[in-house]
Symmetry: C2
Subunit: 434 residues, 2 copies
Amino acid sequence: MRMYDLIMKKRNGKPLEKEEIDWMISEYTAGRIPDYQMSAFLMAVYFQGMSEEETLNLTMAMAHSGEMLDLSGIRGIKVDKHSTGGVGDKTSLALTPMVAACGIRVAKMSGRGLGHTGGTIDKLESFSGFSTEISAEQFEEQVNRIGISIMGQTADLAPADKKLYALRDVTATVDQMSLIASSIMSKKLAAGADAIVLDVKTGSGAFMKTREDALALAEEMVRIGNGAGKHTIAVVSDMNQPLGNAVGNALEVQEAIATLRGEGPEDFTELCLTIGSYMLVAGKKADTPEEARAMLRRVIADGSALKKLEQFVEAQGGDPGQVRHPELLPAAAIREPVLAPMDGYLQSIQCEEVGNCSMILGGGRETKESELDLSVGLILHKKTGDFVKKGEPLATIHANDREKAAQASKRYLAACRIGEEPVQRPELIHAVIR
Amino acid sequence: MRMYDLIMKKRNGKPLEKEEIDWMISEYTAGRIPDYQMSAFLMAVYFQGMSEEETLNLTMAMAHSGEMLDLSGIRGIKVDKHSTGGVGDKTSLALTPMVAACGIRVAKMSGRGLGHTGGTIDKLESFSGFSTEISAEQFEEQVNRIGISIMGQTADLAPADKKLYALRDVTATVDQMSLIASSIMSKKLAAGADAIVLDVKTGSGAFMKTREDALALAEEMVRIGNGAGKHTIAVVSDMNQPLGNAVGNALEVQEAIATLRGEGPEDFTELCLTIGSYMLVAGKKADTPEEARAMLRRVIADGSALKKLEQFVEAQGGDPGQVRHPELLPAAAIREPVLAPMDGYLQSIQCEEVGNCSMILGGGRETKESELDLSVGLILHKKTGDFVKKGEPLATIHANDREKAAQASKRYLAACRIGEEPVQRPELIHAVIR
């Protein structure tokens, strides 16, 4: 087989066979196909697309390019959850204890993130002493004992995807549906879960800006997951404004704790209930999403979801006292309100800009080496559709540096559009693909 | 400027500015843009194309990426000629002495070729002692004295094209009109001629398989040439069967000599007269192609064209006796006729296969290091449209190895299609773009 012929075939709009894709991915991972041929191939894919079958074959080839996690030592149906990411997306923090309290085994590998806030692991490190550097044995034992564990990604999962993504990133071939879908799904499949619930974000703060693109990606990923024999469900949810009110690391942990107490923001609570209910259905703990939702409400009401978070934090060396007393979590020295310059309805919040504010304050990483400030961020007091009076706070900036606070404050204000006309609150759940 | 942005721009169908193309080509030539970005860009060009302006800018940027030859020391209008190549294409061998005999200065840099026969330089080396390794001073002096010289390519002409072509060759991005046209024209512009006559081949033995593609390429190149301020004319000629009757190195030299004597095959003579007449017009030696054609016929009839070849060969160290006695040129030991298996009209000759026969015999180079056998090749006795009787020779194989001869003979026979229906001889000149 020659890579040249595969480039030509794709360029001419012909589908690649499974054997061709397998060969290409294994040779590329082994460094025997040069980047310049692969990037030409990727650009041809950008223009010619890939069939459903090709996309599934590509995903499987990438999933098998490195270690495939074996979770068979963990009893029950393992349900994984993945979000395409957005601003204020602390869903895993609240959702995993909720579903674990309902009997779903959560065995998650997680990463640190580049972006406006840290990843789930960074956020969890807001608890003093918390560590995800645990052994595979502890991981397995802990999931079997208390139903939940999150460990740092140590295994070499889907190295082909890692290499391909780095190449796509510098050759303007990132935004192609089959490539995006196979990239996400290859990692999920390698991570060994039995069922997968996907949260595909759409809007100004998401990678998929339009509802149509998000729907298409969700459908593509569900097809791949089911094609690979894993029960897969996708929820398409709104990211035209931050999710919930908190953006930042410790601030988001606080909001997750409040949500587990039944005191969380409406939109965030609703998203957790929606995704959680499909996780329970996929994990066969409930027959219908309605039944599942009632179970989730119960574990919030009776305190068992919050208790599960406490257990989880304690099992991984963290201070469970901070779950009961979130005011003990890292806190910023400066709190500065961003005041509304006029009366009116909040028309929109440019979501990506809110992420940038968090970044400016030190809440996110620009490079892998950046140090995070877990205490900083923003708390939103008004969301799209709310009425605000002149001089009322739109948000509060949590900062450790006056200059950065002023900068973030200015940018936050510019990101908000206030107008006289009342506007609808954006719909939170756009679609469920199952 | 960032290459990433230029890839994205082209991918999204937007034209690149002159400054962007200049920057891209100079950075790529200097090794500061990696191949993997350039190949993604080239594939985007394959799908999105380039405007006329972009193509001209790309050509100029590549032409100026290395040395620009200065032919100002040579008096008169320097007319260069270029063929896109085909089987049995020995045009330069006969044409350059013809136009030189009419007063056009031929100052040509030429290369050795990969392919079914050698390049012009290889063919000229059929004359014992002939050398193109001459100094720039000798080159200039010789053109001024006898009107013709061909030297091996020593200068670093259009290195950007060389680098880009090598990349296109392994990334399935060769066959894009703007890229083909700019590649050819950048070298022609760097080679310093004042006017350019192009011979664009079309048919089964040419790179451009269809008349439409050949016309489009011819038009594109004429636009570029004229856009660069060089009088440019393109002839689109047929390559559905070999040109003339001889295929091979010394065999083609013999046929060129016969043509200069007025005894050449009809099609080859006609092509020389056509291209030659446009060279005379471009070089302002004649006002009309008709007048030019009469001049060319005269230099054949009075022997001055043949005399010019003799002078030329002698001036570069070759044996002029071999021009007068072509039977002294390298000759193969074995001559084996390929006999017609039935009566009928020769419907077609798969032209590329004839090239492969020459290759098998040792007449061409598979890699840069291959040694050529100048004596081997084929002489065609029947061309498309001719009637042949069973047992009559279709062609004669000239070989130095029995096994190779048998192999070539078999393939030649398979390349010929004989049928009962009379067929038209293919039209030789499809179009002239000026």
